[in-house]
Structure formats: structure tokens, C-alpha cells
Symmetry: D2
Subunit: 340 residues, 4 copies
Amino acid sequence: MKASRLLEGRSDFVIEELPDPAPGPGTVVVRVEAAFLPTYFAALVAGAFPVTPARPFTTGQCAIGVVESVGDGVSGALVGRQVYCDLYLESPGVDVPRDYGFIGCFGPEPDARRMLDRWPDGSFAQKVLLPRECVVPVPADIGVAPAVLCRLGWLGTACAGLERGGFVPGARVAIGGASGVLGTSAVLVALAMGAGEVAACGRRPHIIETLTGLDPRVTAGDGDDRFDVVLECSGGPDTARTEALIGRLRRGGTAVIVGELEAPLSVDSGPLMAAELAVRGSFWFERDVPRRLLALAATGTLDLSGIEAEVFPLERINEALARSVEASGGLRHVALACNQ
Amino acid sequence: MKASRLLEGRSDFVIEELPDPAPGPGTVVVRVEAAFLPTYFAALVAGAFPVTPARPFTTGQCAIGVVESVGDGVSGALVGRQVYCDLYLESPGVDVPRDYGFIGCFGPEPDARRMLDRWPDGSFAQKVLLPRECVVPVPADIGVAPAVLCRLGWLGTACAGLERGGFVPGARVAIGGASGVLGTSAVLVALAMGAGEVAACGRRPHIIETLTGLDPRVTAGDGDDRFDVVLECSGGPDTARTEALIGRLRRGGTAVIVGELEAPLSVDSGPLMAAELAVRGSFWFERDVPRRLLALAATGTLDLSGIEAEVFPLERINEALARSVEASGGLRHVALACNQ
Amino acid sequence: MKASRLLEGRSDFVIEELPDPAPGPGTVVVRVEAAFLPTYFAALVAGAFPVTPARPFTTGQCAIGVVESVGDGVSGALVGRQVYCDLYLESPGVDVPRDYGFIGCFGPEPDARRMLDRWPDGSFAQKVLLPRECVVPVPADIGVAPAVLCRLGWLGTACAGLERGGFVPGARVAIGGASGVLGTSAVLVALAMGAGEVAACGRRPHIIETLTGLDPRVTAGDGDDRFDVVLECSGGPDTARTEALIGRLRRGGTAVIVGELEAPLSVDSGPLMAAELAVRGSFWFERDVPRRLLALAATGTLDLSGIEAEVFPLERINEALARSVEASGGLRHVALACNQ
Amino acid sequence: MKASRLLEGRSDFVIEELPDPAPGPGTVVVRVEAAFLPTYFAALVAGAFPVTPARPFTTGQCAIGVVESVGDGVSGALVGRQVYCDLYLESPGVDVPRDYGFIGCFGPEPDARRMLDRWPDGSFAQKVLLPRECVVPVPADIGVAPAVLCRLGWLGTACAGLERGGFVPGARVAIGGASGVLGTSAVLVALAMGAGEVAACGRRPHIIETLTGLDPRVTAGDGDDRFDVVLECSGGPDTARTEALIGRLRRGGTAVIVGELEAPLSVDSGPLMAAELAVRGSFWFERDVPRRLLALAATGTLDLSGIEAEVFPLERINEALARSVEASGGLRHVALACNQ
């Protein structure tokens, strides 16, 4: 099979021919239809991430594919099913340093090395070998293109972030960084989850305008109303906007950070205590989340029709990454078609 | 003002002229636009409820009205606001018998007498005096007729029941008794809350058919799929259907009883334990629930357009009750216009 | 009755003779046995708190007393019962500015004025009039002196803070500011709640030493182990210690702020997100908390025998406050005996 | 190594010599010090359990041992550590039939076969091979004999059951079947967790008497007080006692079933709804539970000194099982010393 490899001493992808993976106990082999190509892979390819598999390896992120074969201990009913491939994995066990991260990608802490050593290869290939728990069946009649649906990890991050922030249907939600890929995903998910109001706070006015046109519940967030949940999706060095959103929480509200802020937040403990506010981080999601989002997408409650995926064949992955860095944002992302 | 009174020795409503109520500390006076007339008031009027205010009193249930005046300690900003009147009240305090129930109506336990003695008079009158916490402002632009919106207590019961059953967006929900007033309310609410699937299980096929036509997520529930949450809205002596729905819960699922089953449930503890199921009761809701549902109704996410309210003026309340008993069900209910 | 009053233009207490309070509907009159005298009353008396009742008023905080009479709608079974008086009160209702604070004392936000106007007078008097929900019966056989037990608000703040931080029995807990009145209370409560480890982090070594001698689970917290819950009880301008404790949270852990830090916390969002940490504030507690702590105190599980209360009669309240400022700390506090 | 085997066509244990297990990726080999021998193994050995590994296999349950070797992907720091071996295992993955059960033992549903086929051999042997997540390190200084500590699965079942029932420190708890092995475990755990009251309801008066002598919080439960949580630990055909305990729940309380009741419970939905009660099942526990209980046992907060373990060497396992059936109960159980 073809796979895009990261090699020692190079900072681009190299397409190589590798043997097809064979499933071992508890694993599945998936033929990849489409894989999501986030902009942060530019840094990964350049070697800027400290905790990754040892090169050479096949990288990758969230993908949609079809199960080709399964190993011992995995139900054969999965073969032929379209699945969402979730590359997040964590080692089991308590009271030891936990290693967790993304197969074929990176982990946030040095302990992730143990997991990455065992599972170095990701989805930017014609086939990917994954632990069985990493695949979630897609409803048969979903009617959403794989190149769109492979954004599911970003939708799931938003869903889990909102729920960890105490989201309940009817809640008043603010999305920080709403004009980014994660932020627009969060707006779509909040609407599907039954948010009462969604303040889309972001820097690119034309995207915010698109979002406010989607549903009467979406606003540009420039009033002075207060929020039950703030989901901060933006990154970068500027924390003032985040701090302002924290200041607009209602009593008992929670701000959830899912974006990569590069500077420390300044949190005033006085209102935190008096108004019982919380600031918390959220990292990825439980595997029940994609199942639930897929059910909502299959019936159109989670409306993904506004998402535009630019699709590149696997062979043009370097070009695809450059395009992702240049053009990803808002409802637009770049996906790889790995078997075209 | 005019009020419909229940008198000692009679089993019908009598319209009487009473002095207008005046607000005391912490209370509000609401001019009633529309009040919901549930069928169970036939039994209440007939004297079949053991714990009610002492006659004579003005009965009533959920209502929509406009705040006319407020007492000390209540913000004047409420005056002129349209509000949902929630007649549920419970006495504060812990570690003593708690009295709770519905103002001008009934309580489930004898302890409710203390509360009912203090708050005997309900909403079937031109004006009603209520503790401030019983009113929830309606969004200005809601665009739903008061006679429809006064069903909010039934919608709220469904919402709280689902949430107490562990509902999360994308969940697979079954509604027992889905063709009743409470059951249809539950289907509408589950859709607005982002249910992944809603199995509408009920006895009147034409209503179930109407419900399945509302949204692709609604089914008639006659397959063999399994549910995360079962909300049992039906009453009566037959528990077999409820027990069958409990048998269709997924591992970790919860069945919530919000209808008045007249016979004990037979619960097999084997699967309860092995599959970690739960059966629980739910009674009414926290006051945050109507606020959230009103926000969803104001934007059409909670779509109440299918509800048909038959409206009677207050003076014709006896006729209205007869009509409620005869014709309430599914998406149809009877409401009183208290100031026409 | 005698009451200690705060008068316009003065910055000390003045003992005055006032009429005994009479109970109205839903209220109780309590004969005060002992009232807790926190050091922050020095600032309150000096006029440094922006939101208080209008002078003249009777101030006060947590107290233990005996119910003397009850108003309409309150069970007569309370008369003669020893009770904990919890002066915290919040106005009911949703979706309006909520006013909450301490009767006879202060509120954290300007909205508290409405509540304080209605309930200006606190417990530093021979008798206090309170809403019924403010009193919690003390078990008959508790065997703890009122002057000790009136510290219950501080114990309750610790209990609620730990629980809001996700405390479960066996959890590894760190208490910041453990040598203060609130911090030592937190150590005692954490032990009673079944903490697995309690790191008592504080500045006064002799108090920390006393605490580590109480139970093998208490340590001085100077190792490098990690915590499930951090409860920050200290105040003042120095946030470095708090930030260091946040840095020692385990994955998924929560730091709860219950002390009055005077400078903003600097919170690094990277580890917050990667390790799913949370920082939250907690203010006082639900009324179920004192009931539970009293049950634990009555059986000695919550061991209050190490607490030393210095008791002053009400008439010597100015002297008592000076002594509180000078000597309160660790297991020692100052209490007023209001009827001696 | 020696292992006790269940063979086709026999209904006793046969000690056989088998090759030592070798650790594969993600697994550990534990040298067993002591294994718990529950009475239900009499039925398992007799072939009465429908879903077990295919014979021949080595059975077993909870054990204490020392890690001898670890496979790839497991931290070497575990080697030489004393661990609790938790034989519960469930297959990962969502939205497929989940198989779960006890290694070398049984599963509650037919789907468990897939897991049992892969992990047929349990702890009644000199060594046991387990997935890494099945072992939890024991604190170095715990000072509790392995033959006592191997009861941890029963203590954990009680802890998880109480927590799933909404247990909070200070809660009023009733334990049904309190004179059994599970019931006495529950009383000990409830005390360590900070229960306010523990009603020990059971049939063997001398054991109940022993329990009430342990702590002033333990009562015989024959008053008419009400409970926040009921934990039903008893089995058998008689459900009347369980139903009576459900009838003594406070408003909002939960009854948790962890014993094997053989007849359906009759649950009256009226009070269930009006008082918002819940009845739920609980099966085993999350792996954080034994870690927390071990921490409490290490400091004596969970006081296991009253437990009497009768110890038999592995070779006398048939005799040991007969003794377990005859004499297990209350604080007494039977354990196997697998390496003596």
C-alpha cells in the first residue's frame, strides 16, 4: 500500500510503498476513504513537536474508511462497515503515569512515548491498523461525504468541551475563536445539541456573518448578555478576549479551554469565588461522543451541509498541507482522499 | 376580579367575584392570559384528591400572564413582563418533613397541607398572587400564543425527566405513552434537546403517525433497537408495556417514570444489576427548565406549531373541563382565557 | 434584648437594648448561645465593605442557639431544638440579577442590597430572627460546645469546596493555607470525609505539625506527589503558592478557591487543556452540608476536640474582635456567648 | 507452575502442573499470594454457570500478588510491586455488543464469550497472566495480610454501589443483607467513606451485634428513620425486605442492588415519582475504586482488622471450597494461599 512517511532529516512527506498491515488480536484494518489534514501538521512535519513516534513513521489524524479485516476477539460484523477512525488512544491502568495521545501523531506529555512506540502509524495511508476501540461505525444512511465527515474529531472536541462545561439544552453558549475550524465546528454542534443562544465571537467578520445566518440562535456576541458556558476555541498569544469572555459568565458558569492559548490566563479569583465560576481545560472526548454526533448528522440535526472540504489525493499531500495552512478556516478544511 | 372557586359540598366550579389580590413582600400579582386545564382536574373537582387546600379556594395550574404589580424585595423590572406561572412550590429547609405541591391544587403527601394553607389560590382567575420564584419571564419575541405556551409544565416535566435519566445530545430515547398530552410534549422536547432517535411508543396510531412525520429521528418504536433513556409518560393499570421498555434499555440506561402507573412495576433485579440499569421517578422540574425551554421555543428549535389549544373563557370553565376530559390527548389540549 | 449595633459614623460595636424580635410567617426566633467572630469583621466594622445593610444594624455570622418561637407555616416541632444558624440567604428566582449574601453582614455584589434591606440584623445579639431555611437542627447528643460548633460555616465551606472539586472517598487532597482557621477546618473535614491523603500546606510550622499529628493521612505536603483536589484556603496577595499547587494536580484534578486571593491567578492553559484540569471558585454551601457535618460531629467521625474557642460575653464584643484579629488562626477562634 | 483446573466432565478442581505464563504486549505476570474463594464457586465448579471459558481452564477471582514480569508497553516499575489483581475485564468499543465479565470465571451475558475465550485463566494458580489494567499497586506499608486484602472486590462492589447511589459524606445509609460477606464489607466501607449513619439490616443477630459494636454510627436499622441510600447486598428469593428498605428512602434517595435477588422486585411507581426515588443495579466497579480503598486501608481509615480469613493452600482447594460454603459469612471468608 501507499503511505505518506515522515523521515529522519526531512521536513516534508514522502510517499512510500509499504506492506499492507495485517490485523492482530483486538485490532482492525481500515481502508481509508478520507483523512482530515489540520494546519498544525505543518509544525509536526517540521519536527516542532517534542513527543512523536520515532521517524520513519506514517502520520495522520481523524479519518473515515471501511473496515477491511479484523483480528481475533473482534466481531466480524464490523467488516465492510464504514467507520470513523479516532486516532486518540490512552493506555489503561491507574496510579501510574498515563500515556495518551494520537496514534501516528503526538502526545502532550513524555509518557505518551510508550503508546506511540507501540502504535506509530496513522491514517495518511491507503490502510491503517488500529485498536478496535478506535473505530466507531457510521450510520448506513448518513449522506455526508467522507471528506466532510473526517472533521469529526473537531466536532467531537467541541461537543465534549461544551458538556464538560455543564452544557444543558437551552443553555446560553459563547464560542471564542468562532471563525476558526474548531470554532465553526463548535457553533454547528451547539446548535444540534439544543443550545438556547450561541454567541459566535471571532475575528473574521464574513465567517461570523455566515454563522449568524445559519439559525436565529446564533449572534455575533457583541452585546452584554451573559453566558452559561464559554468554549474558547482560539489559540495564539492574545488572552484578553478569553479573559473578557470569562468575565461574561453567569453565576455558576464555566469557561472551557479547547484552543491552544500561548500565554497564561489571568484569572481574578474574587469573582471566581463569589460567582462560583470555573475555568477548565478539555482534551479530545470519550468514544461515545462521535457515536452521538454521527446519529445527529445522519438525520440532519447536526447540519454539516455548510462545510466545504478541499480534497487532495494522498500523493499530493505536501501540496495539500500547504493549502491547509493557507486556506483552512471557518467552514473550510482540507482532506486527503487516500485511495484515489 | 372573577375567579373559579371550588366550594364545600359541590363538584363543579363556581365563578365568583373576589377582591383583587395585593402583592406582599416577595410576591407578584399576575394578570392571567391563559391557563392550562388538565383532565385530572375532573377528579380534583370531584373531591377525589386527598391533599388539597381547604374549600373554598381558587384552583388552577400552569399559566401565562403579565405581571401587574410586585411586592417589597422584588425587582420592579418584572412589571409588565409576560411570564410563565409555575404553581409548584416547596417549603425551604432540610431535615424536617418537606411540604411541596401545587398552589391552588394538591400535594402528593400530607405534609403539603402547610404550604397549601398558605397558598390556597391558583390561576383559574383573572389574577393570581404568587411567590416571586414561581414566575419565569417569557422572551419578548416568542411568537407562541399563551393558550399554547401554558402547556409548559408538561414540556418541562418531560425535559426534567429526560435529564434525570441521563439524557445527552444524540441519545436514543423511547417515550412510553407517546400519544398522550405528556407523551407528545416529550417527543417535541426530546427533538429540541438533540435526541439522536425518539421512539414514540403509544396506543393511538394516528397520533404516532403525526409524530413520526415531524422529524426523521422519530420512529414508532416497534423495532428491536435499544434505548439510552426511556421516559414513561403513560398512566393506568397496565405496566406490561413499561416493563417491556425497561427490557429494551442499553447497558447503563435509565427508565424514568413521569406518568401515574396504578399498579406496581415488576422489576427483574438480574439484568438491573448485570446491565447497571436504573428505574427512577421524576416529579416536575427545577425552575431553570422553563427558562431553557422558553429560549428554545423563542427560536423555533422547540417547535410548538403542531400544538392545538382549544380555548374557553373563564366563565365557561365547567364546559371546558368536560371538553378537556373528552378531547385532550396528543397535541391537543384545553386552555382557559381568563380575561376575555 | 441586648444587641451589638453598628452605627453610622462609628467604627466599633455599640451594645443597645432593642425589642425582642417576633416571628412572622416562615420565620423563627433563635436565642443565641454562641456566635462565631471572624477576623474579617474588623474590616466590616471599619466600614470597608461596600455592600452591607444600612447602619444602624445588628451584625453577626454563624451561630448556635435554641429556637424560641416560630411563625406561621413553620413546624412547631422546632421550638426548643438546638440549631445551627446559617446566615447565608439568597433570593429565589431565575433569570433576574440574583441577590445573595449574609444576613446582618454583607453581600459580594450590589444586588445583595435587596436581601440585606429585608434582613439587616444578624446573630450578635441575644436573639435573632431568621427565615426558617436558615436553621438546621443539631443532633441531641452532639456533645460539642456551642462556642466550638459555631465554626460550622467554615467547616461547611471546606466540605462544599472539596465536593465541588470532585472529592471522592480515598481522594488525595491538598489544603492550601492549612494553618489558618479555614484551612485547619478543611483538614478536619477532609479526614472525616474519607480522604486518602491530606497534604496540609501552610506557613505556620507549629500548626502544620499539630495537624500531621492528628492522623497518619495528614502530611506537610512538601513531597512531590500529586493531588486529585486542591482546596486553596489562604488569602492575601501571594498567588505563587496557589499556582504551585495547581501545578501538582493529577490529570482531571480540580483546584477550588475558597480563600480571598487579592491578586489574579496566572493559569497556564497548556497543562489545563492537556491534563484536563479545572480551577473553580466556591462560595459557602448548600444547606444539606451542615446537616451532614453535624451528623459526623455527633459520632466523633468529624473530630472537633482539637478546636479551641476563646469565649467572650456579648458585652465585650469590641475586646473579642481585637482578640480575634490577634489570636485567631489554626485551631483557635473567638466566639461570643450572647446570653451570658 | 501449579494451577487448579476445571475439566470437562468433572465437578471438582484438579491441580495440574502447567508451564509458567509469559507476558505479551500490555500484560503482566503476577505471582499469587492469596486469592479470594467466594461461595458461588460451588455452582461454577458444578457447571451451573452458562457463560464461562471452555473447559479445561484455570478459574479464580480477586487476588493479591507480586508482579513478576511485564510485557512490552508496560512500565518496568511495576515489577516487584505488590498488586491487587482485579479479574474484571470488558472489551473496548462502543455501539457493538459489549462483552464483559471475570477472567477465568464467568460473564453475565453470552457476549462475554469473546473476552473469556481470549482470557480463560484466572488466579487460582501460582501465577496469573493479566492485562496491565487489571492490576492496582498496593501501598508499601499497608500492613494487611494478603488473605484479608483479597476480599477487595467485595469492598469495591460496596463502594461503587454506594457512590452510584449518590452517597455523600454524612449520608444516612442502610445496608440490606448486612450479615453476609458483601454486607459486612459494605458496612466497613460506608464507615470509611464518612457515612453519617449505617443501618446494618441482616438476619444473623450475632453478626449485626458485632457490627453495631464497631462504631457509634452503626445501628441495627430497626427504627423508623429514613435513608439517603439503600445498598441491597442480600440474595435469595425473598424480596420483601428489599421492598421495605426502598419504602424507607428519603425524598430523592436511591436503592442500589448489588446482591443476586432471585425474584422480581415489586416497585410502586407512585412514591417513586412523588418522592423522586430510584432503584438501580450496580455491577463491580471502576479501577479507581480499589486504588482509593487501598489508600484508606493503608492508614486504617478503612479498618479491616475485624476480618477473619481462613487460609488453605492451593492444593487443598476442594476442601477450601467446601469450607467456604459452610463457614463464609459476616466478617469471615476463605482464601487460597497459592504459593505455600
